[in-house]
């Protein structure tokens, strides 16, 4: 079997946005957060993802604004690189190759040209010891730079980025690990180490969880496992150090942050309450309760106007400094485990799985956005450890997406199992699911599997559920027997089946809905749903059948099953005999609903291999070893929005649908081809959606102008990516050099202006369009930060001139005015 180099396992969509603490830009307009293998740029006002910064090939483990340039951002990754980005345009400026996996990054304005990263101890890579290393960033114009000048600052640090922080003005760095706090003074080159005992007599757990430094005073705040916050002072003495203790949290403090002026200290933890302490007046504090779930990170914007909290349910909350929630960015909610299967909603093509407790979430993978949560349990969730509540354990969609079946259960100690089967109908008007039928106690024991009849053309919809009580039941939609006027059809039990008192395991309908296969331990029974007749039994002793799957399309005559003694069997239903079988320990078998392909995840020696095959062909279409470590138990084929035209044999299976799977660490992964990646990269280079201008009627008017201008305009967005053959080599070089290495804009201006001069001279009628001119001026003022790049872009297309002759000052001014001119009027004229 050949390893396919161009198919890669990547994080795409649904990745954690709460993995590392987000960064708010200086102007408080953007929020940057590490998400899988990219850095996402969100707008703080609209909650929308503006663009992704793509380029890393490993998990991004840290995002940090460049202290000397607030328009650039560093990101570090487990792939051993640190990259510098221009986040407004999403341009990769530089890549520093470190060569070791980087776990977190920090920097200070005091240390120019140096970043501090946490890497595993260089001596042996596998140990979980980490060290803080200073990296001298080489000054060179190349895009790809090797940064090999590493010098260890602190050894034995925590890999948690919250545990390392710079102190006042970067004079010292504080690092907490386990029960030790270490403060390293750069001037004196001297570390001070403070330790706690495991726990004191009162049972407090003293383990450090996070550290924050006061920006103005020499005060370090540390959060502890028992919920205490300690404020350390005088820590430049071995013995005379002192600390005060604040205690409000009842469990571990997971994040601490000082506001930029140092007047407030923010803390958060399990309680989902943001606590704001007044510095030096700690008895006064403000609370922002009911944030939904445990706080994992807190950040404050550099101007102090916004706070931002990350939550354990993959959510980022943006809070105004008057302690009011202003925006919520919700990612894919992943608890400790996913009880339901991963499914794809046939209507919205969104991924459906457990979300908040008692909810199903609908997550759009294409847009990487949570669409909505469907409250299944419809009960108040009470957060209390040890309290058992109703949980959604099973869910299934029918083929058209108009019915949803859910099972919720609650098992309390010494109490009977409570089960509810709920059926939801899709309401076209409200565009959401509405509860149709609730069947309480549908079975006497836990429901093991549930599936809808797949046939799209059949008149009746049917649901089959198998349970530990030894029965499988078929449920059918039926009109109410006694006619009560306004009641629609509801679901009722149609058939109860059993087989020799054995416990049914899994069930599966054939693609056309004419056959139902139910496995009873080692026996597979095939039933006809029309007459509820046992057609045949297939069996492959001695071990029980684990998974059942009918083939699709051309392979629909095959039924595939996996057994507990690691056998994959394929039965031919026409001959009712075993077609082939092979020995492999398959943990999950699933069929692609759009093609004949089947995917099998094999667990072998601690890691999972993937095989994609057609039941009719002996050779696998695709195989990849060691897709991830651990056992994969949840996966789904998600149909693509637009088909991929890949002609390569090994990647053809990805043309119609994409395979997503959940690793044991609850990371959502998928497979991607080289071509697809390239396409994505290209699209990410597209212009940023400009959200600077509010949606006013005026904006709409302006927008219309722009759209009309687009097709024939010379400075359109599409034109930007077009190669400019007529460009001189000098200009090309100029445009491709990163902005930060260019000389100042005023210096470059003349060169651009020279080209402008040629193209614009014919259209000097500014007096009539004073209004539009003003408007564009205003816009330009708004975008001070972006000015350099945007002007470059606008004037890129008409470039064509030779070296500019030197201009007088008056000419210069004139040209600047001309530059600001809006040409939309011209387009307008042409159209009208």
């Amino acid at each position: 079997m050949v390893e396919h180099g161009d198919i890669r396992v990547v994080h795409r969509g649904g990745s954690k946005i709460n993995f590392r603490e987000p960064v708010i830009t200086h102007d408080s307009r953007y929020l940057l957060c590490a998400s899988g293998e990219c850095v996402k740029v969100f707008s703080t006002s609209t909650e929308e993802c503006i663009h992704d910064l793509r380029g890393h090939t490993g998990l991004v483990t840290g995002v940090l604004l460049k202290p000397s340039n607030h328009l650039q951002v560093y990101s570090c990754s487990a792939d051993g690189t640190v990259r510098l980005w221009d986040y407004t345009d999403g341009i990769l400026i530089k890549t520093y190759v470190i060569g070791y996996p980087v776990y977190s990054i920090c920097a200070s304005a005091n240390h120019e040209g140096v970043i501090f990263i946490v890497t595993p101890m260089l001596s042996d890579k596998r140990s979980d010891l980490f060290q803080l290393v200073a990296v001298d960033l080489p000054q060179s114009g190349d895009q790809l730079v090797e940064a090999r000048e590493l010098s260890a600052v602190l050894s034995d640090v925590s890999s948690n980025p919250a545990a390392i922080v710079f102190g006042r003005g970067g004079e010292y760095i504080a690092s907490a690990n386990g029960l030790h706090l270490e403060v390293y003074f750069f001037k004196k080159q001297k570390p001070y180490r403070f330790s706690f005992k495991e726990d004191n007599k009162k049972g407090g757990k003293n383990t450090f969880m996070c550290v924050a430094c006061h920006p103005k005073d020499d005060c370090i705040a540390t959060g502890h496992e028992d919920g205490k916050i300690r404020l350390w002072r005088n820590f430049n003495h071995k013995k005379e150090y002192t600390y005060s203790t604040l205690h409000w949290h009842h469990s571990a403090v997971s994040s601490l942050c000082f506001t930029p002026e140092g007047t407030n200290l923010l803390s958060g933890g399990m309680e989902s309450v943001l606590v704001q302490w007044r510095y030096n007046q700690e008895s006064e504090r403000d609370f922002l309760p009911r944030l939904g779930s445990a706080i994992t990170h807190i950040t404050v914007s550099p101007d102090g106007a916004l706070f931002c909290t990350s939550h354990s349910d993959n959510k980022i909350t943006i809070i105004q400094s008057c302690v009011k929630v202003s925006a919520v960015i919700q990612g894919l909610v992943k608890g400790e485990s996913v009880r339901t299967d991963m499914m794809v909603d046939p209507r919205s093509k969104s991924l459906v799985l457990n979300g908040k407790p008692g909810h199903l979430q609908f997550y759009s993978l294409q847009r990487d956005k949570l669409l909505y949560n469907l409250d299944i349990v419809q009960q108040e969730y009470i957060h209390e450890s040890g309290l058992e509540q109703f949980e959604v354990v099973k869910a299934a969609f029918d083929a058209s997406g108009s019915w949803l079946a859910t099972v919720e259960e609650r098992k309390q100690k010494d109490a009977e199992l409570e089960l509810n089967l709920k059926l939801w109908a899709f309401d076209e008007q409200t565009q959401s699911f509405v509860l149709n039928t609730t069947i309480s106690a549908p079975h006497e024991a836990r429901i093991i599997a549930m599936c809808f009849c797949h046939a799209t053309d059949s008149q009746t919809t049917m649901l089959v559920s198998t349970s530990k009580d030894g029965h499988f039941k078929a449920w059918q939609l039926a009109a109410p027997a006694h006619t009560e006027a306004d009641e629609g059809p509801s679901w009722s039990c149609d058939f109860v089946g059993s087989y020799h008192g054995l416990v049914p395991e899994c069930c599966c309908f054939s693609a056309d809905g004419s056959l139902l296969a139910v496995s009873f331990q080692e026996v597979v029974t095939v039933w006809s749903p029309a007459s509820w007749e046992l057609l045949t039994t297939l069996s492959q002793p001695p071990k029980a059948v684990r998974d059942l799957c009918f083939g699709r399309l051309s392979c629909s005559k095959y039924l595939l099953g996996t057994t507990a003694n690691s056998l994959l069997c394929c039965w031919n239903l026409l001959t009712c005999s075993l077609e082939w079988s092979t020995s492999m320990d398959i943990s999950l078998l699933l069929a692609d609903p759009l093609t004949e392909n089947m995917a099998a995840f094999c667990c072998q020696a601690g890691s999972t291999d993937l095989f994609v095959f057609k039941p009719s062909e002996p050779r696998p279409v695709f195989s990849q070893k060691a897709v991830c470590s651990g056992k994969v138990t949840r996966a789904v084929f998600a149909p693509r929005e637009e088909m991929l035209e890949s002609c390569e044999e090994s990647s053809q299976w990805l043309n119609h649908s994409q395979l997503y799977f959940l690793t044991p660490y609850m990371d959502l992964m998928t497979f991607t081809t080289k071509a697809e990646e390239d396409r994505l990269m290209a699209s990410s280079k597209q212009l940023v959606i400009d959200d600077r201008v509010a949606m006013t009627p005026f904006y709409l008017l302006l927008g219309k102008h722009r759209q009309q201008e687009d097709p024939d305009s010379v400075s359109g967005l599409s034109a930007e990516r077009r190669p400019l053959p007529q460009c001189s080599v000098a200009i090309k070089e100029l445009l491709q050099t990163p902005a930060h290495v260019l000389p100042s804009t005023s210096f470059l201006c003349s060169m651009f202006v020279q080209s402008l001069l040629i193209s614009v001279t014919d259209g000097r009628e500014e007096t009539k369009h004073a209004e539009e001119e003003m408007e564009s001026e205003k816009e330009e003022e708004d975008s001070e930060g972006e000015m350099e790049s945007s002007t470059q872009r606008q004037e890129q297309a008409p470039l064509g001139g030779q070296a500019a002759p030197t201009l007088t000052k008056a000419q210069h001014r004139e040209l600047k005015r001309v530059k600001k001119l809006d040409h939309s009027w011209f387009a307008h004229l042409l159209h009208s």
Binding site: D217, R233, N236, E240, T242, Q281
Partner: protein, 683 residues
Amino acid sequence: MGEFKVHRVRFFDYMPTAIRAMAFNSRTERLALARADGALEIFNFADNYFQEKVIPGQDGRAVEALCWVGQRLFSAGLNGEITEYDLENLRPRYTVEAYGGPIWTISINSQGTLLAVGCEDGTVKMFEILEERIQFQRNLDRQKGRIISLSWHPSGTLIAAGMMDMIRIFDAETGRATHRLLVERGVGASKSREVVVWSIVFLSDHTIVSGDSAGKVQIWDGVTGTLVRTHLVTKWDVLALSVSKDESSLVAGTSEGTVVQFQFISSTVDQQDKEWVRTRTFKNHSHDVRALAHTETAVVSGGMDTQLVVRPLLDKVEKNTQESALRKMSLPHRSLVCCAKKAGLLLFQFPDHLELWRLGESDGHGKPGDSLPVKRKPEKLIQLKRKGEDHICCSALSPCGGWLAYSTVTSFRLYRLQNNNISVTKVSKLPKDLRSAHQLCFSPDSSKLFASSSHSSVIVVGLNQPECKYLHTLKPKSGSRQPVHLLFASEDGKWLATANADCEIHVYNLDKLKLHCTVPVYSSCPTAIAINPTTSNLVAVHADQQIFEFSLVQKEYTEWSRKLQKQGLHSLWLERDTPITRVAFNPKNPAHIILHDMFMFCIIDQSLPLPEAKTPFYNQMTLRSLPEPQRLVHSHAFKICKNFQHLMCVSLLEDHSLVVVERPLLNITSQLPAPVRQKKFAT
């Protein structure tokens, strides 16, 4: 090792009273402590926090404030009097009426020349300290409202007074009030209540720190009279403040039982501008912290819950040493229980009465560890109320159970017990030399009474049937003026040993009625002495936990004692924080010494090898698991029993049963009044 029938006595309802005031003398390292019943206690911090002296209280003397002036100790109270104490005779020396109503506070200037007194009528009165007495000098400007707290500026020219709702600063020379600092009232419902400035501290940089009833610790600039910073420390009152000598640390005691530390710290490293920052919080009390002292290395606090807590500051002491351990002193370091060995009677001493109990009896037999059925319950025979307003300072019961004696600072009483110990007759004719005693002791044959008197002398009184007769006064040759706090008469009636606060141990020959010898003076105060009845060796245990054995015949330390000193005691023995309060011997085995402190009792077997530094000290359990022959190899001289806790007395009766008097601390805390309401998490 020795099996005893144990009388486990838990009917001694001893109840210490609340701590009201404290004063620490950093020169002599003595802490004076005043309790709510007027009793004063002196602790020697240099000598393992030993309770050196106790001055019994008096009805109507409620001490509000204490003050050291050099070696002299002054107190003032709500009875309006200033009292100086005679620390050699353990009694008030004189009292001076201040004529200003109840006195809330006293304060001495740093020069030790002027004593300022804050009175209920709003006056601050200055008393000049003279050689033998104090003399009223002047009144400062009279204010409206009482003066609650006072603090001198170290220069001695200014004095700050905490009042109701305000703080006044006086010029001590002119007597004029120079500043008036208004203290904000509490918020909410307490807005209408006056705020009381319970405590005030005037620092040398003219900073004034105040603690008030609204729960605030406020820092004021004393030059301009402006508020610098307010720290809201508690919802209730801040009752006490104390500052360290170098003025870098300050502690505040609150009604919640917490002690909050403030430190004078520069906010940024390597810069000079410092400010007071709240740092640590100690919670060692369940009730009000009424008194605080900030020593060089520790915070000493006491309050309503009667415990004295020494909390070392870890930045000032070496970590993980004996010095860095928290100490709680809850039971007195002297014995309040007297046991009549022959009669099986117990005498309990309370400040205002004595109780005589007969021990219960049991004839059952059982395995070690069993509790036996009681045949006859213990019964209270006599409750004897004292006469006069002075509290009882010492008492004794003769071994035969026929005599009972007690003394207050002014009077001495002797009673004859008859008719099976239930009738009491006062012996009326007493020798006139016997006015009062610091310590009492009967001879083992109950024929003599020894009463320690002034200048470490001991008065010997012969007890004959109808009356008693003065026999002799035993005086040491050293001429020490300190009081005797330990007396022990040997079983054979030949020796009498005394120990005084100067750490001297004198042994008198009772046949010749003269000084036999003086044990070489050791630097630490003896906490218990006893003479072995068979070998006539004197065993003395000192406050620093050292044990000495001195042969009275040879007048030198015994071989065992030398060996012990040479080898040194086990570190775990030295780390115990309560002193040994009694030494006894097992008549069956003269090599056994029985000792006890508050948390354990111990039998030292002199025939066994001493424990090495590395051997496990508390090894009873491991020994029990070993087979018989190996036990001997592993056993060492110290056998420690921790089955009984909070011991007041362990004594061996004539019939070889052991009397163990316990006073569980839980019983003491359960008798305390309810503390201020505090929100407890999850309630």
